[in-house]
């Protein structure tokens, strides 16, 4: 506990931005996949889920960080889970009060934020070792990154699956919606495609274009599956 406070580096913008792209929870760390895939069949659902997750993430990380010197090491995971569950219960009731329609759409996945590994993972890996402000800033960054990923998935799925974006018709009525995109397989395939694209861009940046041809083939294959 004492060495944790000793090596406190100053708060930089990096702490905030790391979570948004460089260590994006979904695309890079592959954490919190269940809500990512389950609720992203429309942009609105994705946004709501993202905001709920940001709230839980920031509040629980703040509390964990504030209490980090008082929580005995042996029971820390249980303590974190209880803290997270408390905030999730709060969110659950808030959403129910604000919009019953949204509550019914998201269903059990609001309560399942408790077991979102991203939140527990950040509490254990970051908030339990860093100061209060830093934990809050980092949690905010992570949460924004998570929301960004959710919206990226949700917009593709809603656009292709329903021809709409945020409920507004984008394509003409002639457009035949790719229903599979809204159904479960679409979630896996869209996430896989984003990961392929990100891997490809990453590789191009580092100048290792060994497998460019087979890569584009793979992308074509992915498209034809959907």
């Amino acid at each position: 506990m004492t060495q944790a406070t000793k090596k406190e580096t100053p708060l930089t913008l990096d702490v905030f931005t790391a979570g948004i792209w460089k260590e994006n929870p979904v695309f890079v760390m592959m954490l919190g996949l269940c809500p990512t895939l389950a609720v992203t069949n429309s942009v609105l659902n994705s946004l709501a889920m993202g905001i709920a997750s940001i709230f839980v993430l920031v509040c629980s990380n703040a509390l964990v960080s504030a209490l980090r010197h008082f929580i005995p090491k042996q029971v820390r995971i249980t303590t974190y889970i209880i803290i997270i569950a408390t905030f999730v219960t709060l969110v659950d009731y808030i959403i129910q009060a604000v919009s019953l329609d949204l509550y019914n759409k998201l269903g059990a996945f609001i309560q399942l934020i408790v077991v979102n590994c991203l939140i527990l993972g950040r509490a254990e890996a970051y908030a339990s070792k860093h100061s209060f402000t830093k934990s809050v800033v980092s949690a905010l960054g992570m949460g924004l990154g998570f929301t960004l990923a959710l919206v990226m998935l949700g917009s593709v799925r809603e656009l292709l699956g329903a021809g709409q974006l945020l409920g507004y018709q984008v394509f003409s009525t002639q457009f035949e919606p790719w229903v599979v995109m809204i159904l479960p397989p679409g979630g896996f395939i869209v996430l896989g495609s984003w990961l392929l694209l990100i891997n490809y861009l990453e590789q191009r940046k580092t100048g290792q274009l060994i497998a460019a041809d087979s890569a584009s083939q793979c992308a074509v294959k992915a498209e034809s599956f959907s």
Binding site: L31, I82, V88, L112, V115, P184, P185, F188, G192, A211
Partner: protein
């Protein structure tokens, strides 16, 4: 088929609404532990057992909570219950099968954050299953989780021998595979109402 019957509940959780491929629950172990078939199989056994224990206990807890009007404590008590049943499985395995205990390693405590298990408890409460229905639901969910993860592990073992482009490394290809598996499982929707 009667949607309330035990066999239908089992079948629905096992195939039609497969927990991993149709409801997106328990994806972390699905991606994390599916590299080898043996480990995947053992993982699914442990998960099924925890599901069974926590489902039966949460049925009891829910009865107590509703009697005293304490529904807002449901989430917290369920998660505490799951954490302790994982602890129980850990102790049982350590005593009776140290080899399996070592093989599962870090993934055993991680069962706590497997959303499939909390999902079973929450769904059975939401659907107001009685005791036998809950048991059948949890066993079906466990079997479905096992089926999905073992199928995935089999596919990934084959993939290791094939020549893959660089960008499909890590999780990208697993996600694509899962998408195709999920498409296949949609075929089971014909077995009965998909909204069960």
């Amino acid at each position: 088929m009667n949607p309330e019957s035990l066999s239908f509940i089992f079948l629905s959780a096992f195939l039609i609404n497969n927990f991993v491929l149709a409801m997106f629950l328990g994806l972390c172990p699905f991606v994390g532990v599916s590299a080898k078939r043996d480990t995947a199989f053992n993982m699914s056994l442990a998960t099924t057992f925890v599901m069974f224990v926590s489902s039966t206990c949460s049925y009891g807890i829910n009865l107590v909570l509703t009697t005293f009007d304490l529904e807002f404590l449901r989430l917290i008590s369920y998660i505490a219950l799951i954490a302790s049943s994982v602890q129980l499985v850990e102790m049982v395995l350590k005593k009776f099968s140290p080899a399996l205990f070592r093989a599962l390693g870090i993934f055993l405590p991680l069962i706590t954050t497997n959303c499939a298990i909390l999902g079973v408890a929450l769904f059975q409460t939401a659907r107001e299953y009685d005791f036998l229905q809950s048991v059948s639901f949890s066993l079906g969910a466990g079997a479905g989780f096992g089926l999905a993860i073992v199928l995935m592990a089999g596919l990934r073992e084959k993939l290791e021998l094939s020549n893959l482009p660089n960008i499909t490394q890590a999780a990208a290809l697993s996600m694509m595979l899962a998408g195709i598996l999920s498409l296949t499982f949609m075929g089971f929707a014909g077995l009965g109402g998909a909204n069960a």
